[in-house]
């Protein structure tokens, strides 16, 4: 393994050295081509840093590039050169933070539209400023830079952006955005601050784009807003990244090289047909290569780790070793009161009062069954506890402190873990990565080998140790439920919320699953289950809260509430009560 790394590093060193020596032998034309190749490589890779994992299609490349170019134009005579790109990066990051903070909470399409117009917006503002305040539309750039200098700077930038991409992929931030890209709700319930993660990556990507603009600006000697903020640039970068494969580190590079050469050829031979051919290339790419060149390579190459995958059920490890849930044990020792207090909580969807002044308490170490007919508000109650929904009124407190207005990721970090009624796994990620997502975004921070070992032990705890590397989307329904539980347990919870986790199991699986939940309680977890399987409720629950039409109608031990007249009426109607 180490030897292979050294070999890779050596090969990369040789390639970089060869590329660095290129201007010494190249003609002017080839040097210009080299510059084009490098700057599109940097832009496409930077674009994919953010848009690849998050699937937010950003058309703001031209905006950041233009900002960089203008920073050089304005500052080049005021600052020594090395400070200019630094200043450009700072401006780019600032703009990215402002824009990102206001638009990244917009979902897919809204973001595309806004980024589509951002370049135009900035271009109009700059033009207005230049004409009315600066006094002329264009600016001359007198920097004593040669083409070779620009080439080398771009090469350095390309190496930096690829290194940054590699580091991010192998970092917590990289994992966070991969999770966000697949399921943002799951991400929040794993304790990921989704806004911050997206914003951070957007800013990094923008910084590289801005610096590219700053480095490229001296090429033109004269710039005006129409040159600097050319919207075509955003489109070209998107095509290149997608052509190569935006989900991979080297994909954008593989896309940029052939397309830059193609565009170069088109402009030289059919300048008038450029737009038509560009469009046609785009359409062909979308149809023929939905996952880009890298995707094509992957499907053609033999799968490396697929062999281990077995389709089918594996049994729960019944003799699994007992674990201790540190957070649950600590809190049990330190805090005397109930784990959770739900006090006069209300939630309405438009005119429908889904939860109406519900109160209950959750004692430490108990299993509480939350039951009631469909539509009675059970899942809404869970959603308010986990922070997926915010209550309209009332108070929810966890271990004595209020969590009613906390966002979901903060509640997850405080030790509330959940599964979802409709099972939600990260379909593209491996089972290991699914569990990792729950494991690494809360205190005490875990990463690397320690996290890997812990994730594997959790997978074997729920009985799917043999599917570590399988993509979660390929598991059977039951295995996906187990995986979801492993991810919830990875949060090292104090309180576990199971939303119809037992639904759909066959009788023998049900027995195993019930045993597992019982064992979790013995190990110190407090558990809320929402369930329709009455056998499970009878054998698991210490107490039940029964809801109907948003109100609590009964509370007590299962045997008592299940014979209560009002409960029977709620489930079966007046005739049977």
């Amino acid at each position: 393994m180490n030897l292979r790394r050294i070999a890779y590093a050596a090969a990369a060193g040789v390639v970089i050295a060869a590329l660095a020596a290129f201007p010494l032998v190249a003609s002017g034309y080839h040097l210009a081509l080299g510059i084009s190749l490098l700057y599109f490589t940097v832009l496409a890779t930077a674009w994919a840093l953010f848009s690849g994992p998050t699937h937010y299609i950003s058309l703001a490349t031209a905006a950041f590039f233009g900002i960089g170019a203008y920073t050089t134009a304005v500052l080049t005579e005021l600052l020594p050169w090395p400070l200019v790109p630094v200043a450009a990066a700072a401006v780019g990051v600032m703009v990215a933070l402002v824009v990102g903070l206001s638009t990244l909470r917009l979902s897919g399409i809204y973001f595309v539209i806004f980024s589509f117009g951002l370049a135009e917006l900035i271009r109009q503002l700059v033009t207005w400023y230049e004409v009315n305040i600066h006094g002329s539309v264009g600016r001359y750039i007198f920097a004593d830079t040669t083409s070779e200098g620009i080439y080398w700077r771009l090469l350095a930038l390309a190496v930096m952006v690829l290194c940054a991409g590699w580091l991010i992929r192998h970092s917590r931030l990289g994992l966070a955005v991969r999770v966000i890209g697949q399921d943002e709700t799951v991400a929040r319930h794993c304790g990921i601050d989704t806004t911050r993660a997206k914003l951070a990556l957007f800013a990094v990507s923008a910084a590289f784009m801005t610096v590219t603009g700053a480095v490229m600006a001296p090429r033109w000697t004269y710039i005006d807003p129409a040159i600097a903020f050319n919207p075509m640039l955003s489109f070209e970068v998107v095509i290149m990244a997608l052509f190569g494969g935006a989900g991979t580190l080297f994909g954008p590079l593989l896309g940029a090289v052939p397309l830059v050469l193609l565009f170069e050829m088109l402009i030289a031979t059919f300048p008038n047909y450029f737009s038509v051919v560009l469009g046609a290339v785009f359409i062909v790419i979308i149809y023929a290569l939905p996952n880009g060149v890298m995707g094509l390579l992957r499907t053609k190459l033999p799968p490396l780790r697929r062999a281990a995958l077995q389709i089918g059920m594996s049994s729960l490890a019944e003799n699994a070793t007992r674990v201790v849930w540190p957070r649950a044990v600590e809190r049990a020792a330190a805090i005397d009161g109930p784990v959770l207090q739900f006090d006069q909580v209300r939630k309405a969807f438009g005119g429908l009062l889904a939860v109406d002044s519900v109160c209950f308490e959750l004692r430490r170490g108990e299993i509480l069954g939350l039951i009631g007919p469909n539509g009675s508000g059970k899942t809404t109650v869970l959603n308010m506890i986990s922070g997926a929904l915010r209550a309209d009124g009332g108070e929810i407190s966890l271990d004595g402190s209020s969590i009613a207005v906390l966002p979901a990721h903060r509640i997850a970090q405080r030790g509330v873990a959940r599964t979802f009624q409709l099972v939600q796994v990260l379909p593209v990620s491996s089972c290991l990565e699914n569990v990792m997502a729950g494991l690494v975004f809360h205190a005490p921070l875990l990463w690397g080998v320690a996290a890997d070992v812990r994730a594997r032990s959790l997978l074997s705890r729920v009985g799917i140790a043999d599917k570590v590397d399988a993509p979660a989307g390929q598991l059977t329904y039951i295995d996906q439920k187990r995986l979801e539980l492993a991810r919830a347990l990875a949060l090292s919870p104090n309180l576990l919320l199971l939303d119809e986790w037992l639904a759909g199991l066959n009788p023998s699986e049900l027995q195993v699953a019930i045993a597992l939940v019982k064992m979790l309680r013995q190990e110190g977890l407090t558990i809320v289950i929402v369930e329709h399987v009455m056998d499970a409720i009878r054998s698991l629950c210490d107490r039940c809260v029964v809801m109907n039409a948003g109100r609590k109608i009964a509370e007590g031990p299962p045997s008592a509430v299940l014979t209560d007249h009002e409960v029977i009426r709620a489930y079966l109607g007046d005739a049977d009560a």
């Binding site: 539209i113 117009g117 109009q124 207005w128 469009g279 290339v281």
Partner: protein, 292 residues
């Protein structure tokens, strides 16, 4: 006072056009689920067709509608059936179709724009039809603008009636709300979607003809109209016709006001400022359903 009235009237005409083209985009995006970035290219193509009919064959634009609207309907129907259908079939979910259709129509945008640039060149075009001043409430407005607004109202009203009062319109609205449930109720989603997409195309064709009567246009301007239609649709709340109408008028009036009072170069800045503030205030648009 006259200036204010002038701004409001001109803004209403422009806003009415925005609302009309947003209506067509609502059909394409809300029902056919295609995020069509080449939408504005069809508007510009229709404008060129009107120009050609008027200056080449002396057919006035209102009569021209009879030719251009069905042609645009047919072109969009074919586009959906031939080019977009493979993407619809391939998509596993709404999100995938959205991304694929954005990228696919992006390519179409360049192809159409390139063809128009080759055919008509990149210069600004216009023609003069019924540019007689009409005096209203102490200010003047060209007759062609009034006519355009009237036609926009008629077309928009007719569409509203079709959607709300007919059996087929009900089916289309059902698809917009929940396409899976609509399929289970016996509605043929594919053919209805193709029809909705084509109807959206017909409307943008009509919009192109009407706009060409009083605005200058060029082969490269399609993107601007796509943007504005999208902004109006999103600001009004996706799928909400009344919202689109109000957002369109709001945009038209504020653009006109800024162009007259501040600087004509800042209209897009205004558009975006308005767009952003509405979205920050109400993330699902002025009249959007709140997300659960």
């Amino acid at each position: 006072m006259t200036l204010a009235l002038d701004i409001v009237l001109s803004g209403l005409v422009l806003g009415g056009m925005y609302a009309l083209i947003a209506l067509g985009l609502t059909l394409q995006y809300g029902i056919a689920r295609i995020m069509n970035l080449s939408y504005g290219e069809f508007l510009v193509a229709a404008a060129f067709a009107a120009l050609y009919l008027y200056s080449g064959m002396a057919v006035n634009p209102i009569v021209g509608l009879i030719v251009v609207v069905p042609a645009s309907f047919a072109a969009n129907w074919l586009l959906y059936q031939i080019v977009l259908m493979p993407l619809v079939k391939r998509a596993e979910n709404q999100g995938m179709l959205e991304v694929d259709s954005i990228l696919g129509t992006f390519g179409i945008l360049f192809v159409i724009q390139g063809v128009m640039l080759l055919t008509f060149g990149g210069t600004l075009q216009s023609y003069s039809y019924l540019s007689v001043p009409v005096h209203i409430l102490g200010t003047t407005l060209a007759l062609n603008r009034i006519l355009a607004l009237l036609f926009a109202l008629v077309i928009g009203g007719a569409l509203y009636l079709l959607l709300s009062r007919t059996r087929y319109g009900t089916a289309l609205r059902a698809i917009a709300v929940n396409s899976d449930a609509a399929r289970l109720s016996g509605i043929n989603i594919r053919s209805a979607s193709a029809l909705a997409f084509a109807a959206g195309g017909a409307i943008v064709g009509a919009g192109g003809v009407l706009i060409s009567m009083f605005l200058t246009f060029s082969a490269a301007m399609g993107v601007v109209f796509t943007m504005k239609a999208l902004i109006v649709v999103i600001m009004g709340g996706v799928g909400n016709l009344l919202g689109a109408l109000i957002a369109g008028l709001l945009l038209g009036i504020s653009e006109t006001a800024v162009a007259r009072l501040v600087d004509p170069g800042l209209t897009i800045a205004v558009t975006y400022a308005l767009f952003l503030s509405v979205l920050l205030w109400r993330p699902t648009g002025l009249f959007g359903r709140s997300a659960r």
